[in-house]
Amino acid sequence: MSDEVQSAKIEICLYAFFSFIAFAVIINAMSLPAPTREPLGSGALPQAVSVIVILLCGALALRAGGVLKNARKATEVKTNEAQAMVKSKFRYDRAAAIFAYALIYVALQQSRLVSSGLLTPIFLGFCIWTLQGFNKKAILPMIAVAVVLGYGTSEVFKQIFYIDLP
């Protein structure tokens, strides 16, 4: 049940986000000029699709809200949910950490302050070590894999595929 509640909450947030995007599209499409040589013009279809998206999001959000309402009525949920949250928080933390590393990696690539040949092994190393649970015994194999694959891939892309990496 706790998983259902969590899923329903995520669903509602996601539908709100999609509706916001669709709403922004409708507003933006309004500024497009009216059609001259064809019946529809550039803005009509994006607006129509956005309206459909908003309607579908609304219907699905209502359904998810119903699930949330029913689930809250259950009495024993709270303890289970708390346990599940503790358990699942750990797992989500790890995914969030890896994603944060990826964001930093991309930002540094874009800034071109550090060479990709150095940055990629560091990124790989951090990711592997995090996924290994910061196990000290895993440091040596982690460094070996990160250096060989990170530096190797970066150089292959730069020297063989002529990709403009920093």
Partner: protein, 497 residues
Amino acid sequence: MDIFVQSSLYIFTPIPFMWCVLGVALGVVVGAIPGLSGAMLITMTVPLTFFMGSTHDALILLVSMYVGSVSGGLISATLLRMPGTPAAVMTTLDGYPMAQSGKAGRALGLGIMASFVGGLVSWLFLAGLSPTLAVWATKFGPWEYFAMVLMALVLIASVSSGSMTKGLLAGFLGILASMPGVDESTGRLRLTFGFDEWSNGLTLLPVLLGVFVISQVLKYIVNMDAKTVAIEASNKNIFMTLRDWKNQAVNLVRSSLIGTWIGILPGIGASIGSICAYSVAKSVSKTPQKFGTGFEDGIVASETANNATVGGALIPLVTMGIPGSVIDAILISALLMHNLAPGPLLFITEPDIPYTIIATHLISNIVMVILMLISVKWIARLVLVPTAYLMPVILMFCIIGSYSMQNREFDMWIALAFGVIGFLMERAKIPLAPFVIGFILGDLAEGNFRSGLMASAGSIEPLFTRPISGAFTVITALFLVWSIYTEIKIGRKNAVK
């Protein structure tokens, strides 16, 4: 026929044959590793194919990967009770119990041979039907194309796991994501929100890498703690006897036909084919109670059908440029990125391209059966590869791969953003396949709809009155009504519970 022979002979020259073997081997390994899929492998490989020098070699590699990945799912389904690919989900029901009872070799052997037969039968349809269908499809006008894209979206939405409403939402979101950039009908910029980088729209590859690969990497990391107990693979009784062939003949043919047909339907992939064939095999069996307990017929039905969908799904791809499955949608994007316009005219303008796909499908099936029979025991060991090393490497390839297409930093951000969106969509049980199909076919649908309207002075009447588009529209409406009815019925059942 000459072109087919030439294409086949070309594949047997050293370099293309190496790509074929490499593609099948990588496909089998990736298909066998739970959490990785053929869609991930093919999406990650697309940017690398630009450096291969030949579009034909690129297609040989990608189609071989497709065949290999659908077949490889059998290994982990049998040995771990975890389908390596969604297509092998039904194989777990009988494959794992059979392996548990000490018949792992036999289960794998049956699955491998069934996969081969499924692939071969669907290839017969692919090779036999495609040229004729392509000629027929040249008669398609804008309304037919629009109706077909609509049908593809509704079909995939209605068979998506979860609910059709979510499938439809995903499809329309995909269409919406395809809209920013230059409006092809007027040449005007739209929906760029002031970002210059959006003037070319959202680039296909970063979106695919994000939705299909980065989201799966995140999902896998979240679920990494799940423990699995593996059964050791063996080569014992791996070859089917004459008696086996005789006993399974009807099942093989029936499941091949079901798989091929499901594959031909736009948008529906191998997992649905496998579920349908398994259900039919169970319902016509004299001993349906044995299904799910390690019954040979179950493995044969599932594996035959999922491989048969590959050939079936390639039919709409090579003849009309419409994806028969998600991987076909990625193949279409690969063709587009190689400056080829998928569709019926490809048979006329560059016939060697569709015939290379057709020939590769046959040869990679043969390579697959030989490779798997010889090396399944060793491939099975790769199933337990440490994911702490694998996932970061995949993530790194995605980021660099998305950048490599246009040397544009913006694409790396797009890949990451769509990775999170894809991850959250999966978490909310919104299927990703309709999103990708909508994204790839959105332009085609809009362009044809607007062309049709211009030709008919703004009337949508031809959509219903032209025979082919009318038929597609009726099928779409029927599927829509059926799906809504089923969803309401299931909703009421759940409410009663």
